[in-house]
Symmetry: C2
Subunit: 367 residues, 2 copies
């Protein structure tokens, strides 16, 4: 294996934590002696051992403590993110690397956390360890795009999502509510839900559609080990709900819910209401969500809510499922934004990914 292959493998290991590490980043680590991998590991879940420690432990299990100590001394360590230098739930990894006599540390990217950003590297260098930063950096940043946005913008990674018709409509203008996208698209939406810490809808959607906002996939479908729980994101509502029966399914099974408005909110076990003074509290609300470890949010509508996030330029991704039907002029649009004065003045998104689900199109755009 070449050096880059080691890093690519570390990234692959890291990605195994996709459904369980948030608000922490995904991190994978490979320890190499000569040309042989002597240990590997990944950060499995928030609060658990970091990848570097997992890899050292793996080495010890594989070779026994004594032989492992000899092997680790003078070895090379590949990790997609700069080793941490602070104590949060676990002791700093930097100390362990120094203790075990690692010779060289190859990181994909610096930690964007202002409390670490370069400090881990500096401490390693001060201890005489050879450090390089930037191998497969683009891939390493892409892997932890949620964590990077959290650190840089002090808000959750925000994904706007709508399922619309060819003419951009999300619902008929009558009470005949029904799915627009097909079952494969809807299943994909549940995968998206499983990867975020919060699912957000506006009050109108919560009350009119009475959605469950849960992940309805099995461990098998999610590719998740049975030992980990099925992730169920916090349900978030913009607006205050007067009584539980107004959005029954959201509050079912004592689910964790956060509501937000300028007025007082529902008092109920597991429900937190955030009250704001300003009319446009979206920015503040997002910051408050991150402070509650909601590192990523899937915004599922409706029209007013999508408008608000787009108008405030508060989103990282826009995901549009398009079903091959027309819903016509009386139906409600996914958005209802102000028009630009000139077409060239319209903000341009970047098409990131295009998928087909049984005739529906899923287009993922980056803001």
């Amino acid at each position: 294996m070449k050096e880059q292959d080691f890093m690519a493998h570390a990234i692959k290991l890291a990605a195994k934590g996709r459904l369980s590490t948030q608000p922490n980043p995904m991190v994978g680590c490979i320890i190499v002696k000569g040309k042989n991998v002597i240990g590997e590991g990944w950060h499995k879940r928030y609060g658990g051992d970091h990848a570097e420690i997992e890899a050292i432990k793996h080495c010890k299990r594989k070779f026994g403590a004594k032989k492992a100590m000899q092997l680790l001394k003078g070895s090379d360590l590949y990790v997609n993110l700069e080793p941490c230098s602070i104590i949060k739930n676990t002791p700093p990894c930097v100390d362990a690397l120094i203790t075990y006599g690692i010779k060289k540390v190859i990181c994909g990217t610096l930690d964007p956390n202002p409390k670490i950003n370069g400090r881990g590297v500096k401490l390693l260098k001060n201890a005489g360890i050879d450090v390089s930063v930037g191998m497969l950096e683009k891939d390493c940043k892409e892997l932890n795009k949620i964590f990077f946005i959290n650190q840089k913008k002090s808000r959750p990674y925000i994904i706007l999502k709508a399922a619309q018709s060819l003419d951009g409509k999300i619902a008929l203008n009558n009470s005949a509510s029904s799915w627009i996208s097909n079952s494969q698209s809807r299943k994909d939406t549940h995968f998206m839900r499983a990867q975020v810490k919060g699912i957000l809808v506006g009050k109108n959607t919560a009350v009119n559609d009475n959605p469950s906002l849960t992940v309805r996939l099995s461990h098998n479908e999610l590719g998740l080990t049975k030992s980990l729980p099925i992730p169920q994101p916090t349900k978030i509502i913009i607006g205050d709900i007067k009584k539980v029966t107004d959005a029954k399914k959201i509050f079912a099974k004592n689910a964790k819910v956060i509501t937000s408005s300028r007025k007082s909110g529902l008092v109920k076990n597991n429900v937190e209401h955030l009250q704001y003074k300003n009319k446009n509290f979206l920015n503040a609300f997002m910051g408050d969500l991150l402070a509650r470890d909601i590192s990523s949010v899937l915004v599922e509508g409706g029209q007013e809510t999508l408008n608000a996030f787009i108008t405030n330029n508060l989103f990282d991704e826009l995901v549009l499922y398009t079903a091959p039907i027309f819903l016509g002029k009386k139906s409600m649009g996914a958005t209802n934004l102000e028009s630009p004065l000139l077409i060239k003045e319209a903000a341009k998104l970047k098409l990131e990914k295009l998928e087909i689900f049984d005739g529906d199109i899923k287009a993922t755009y980056i803001a």
Copy 2:
């Protein structure tokens, strides 16, 4: 080569006529003796030799007339469409196949033309020739989808096309007209134009946008031999234009134009006006276009025109280019159709193809 490979090659040859055979179908032909191809040809342009005759001539050029006569006797002939049995611009191919002593004829599909449909096969069989029909039939029908629609529905093959924003808008509601799709998408539109016999717009689009409605690609870009002219489809307008200056570019260079309305139309060289009594003359108009050898039409808008074709269920394909921008609530939608009462009652199109042009999405749907 296996038998199916011979047919696949005949289809490939046929497709070389894509820009020049309409209103005729594309036809390719391979003549095989033993396991060797002894002649091949394709229908090059409307009015020219049919594929079977081209293949026989090719055999003669290759081997000399005498040797060719010996080889053709007892040979197998692969052709994607049933050989013709009627005289139009050329004598019937069936006669030639009998004359040259072809032993077996393998056709991809019957000719949908009611005057031929099975008659060619019958004549060949009566002459003692072994005939099979249906090899790679799906591909053969797909290749000549235009011809099949012409014959079965007595109207042109109709492609609706729009370039829209993420919110389904095609133009700002002011005079600041500009392209929505990018240059790669627009270039692709010119490829689509080159493949049809007519480009149709509504009167409002003709007058407000003053479009040229021409193919602006080189022989090279089109992959067209220099000996053939760049195809320039007939320009078609729904509505009557009062004076040439109302849509100057459409009438430029004495271009062939067809207009249509319930009133009288412009009198001008190369302009034909079709006047109808009924308010909804779209069906009749389409029939009249086919009678003028307009075997395929690209409908390029605007909103009212697209509405009319969709509402009358008069289309075979819908092509939507989507640019990654929002144009907002004051802009004009690509369509403005009546809403269904239930989502499940909305007519469902079939996604046929999905392409990306530099960040724009091109989705092709089949009605």
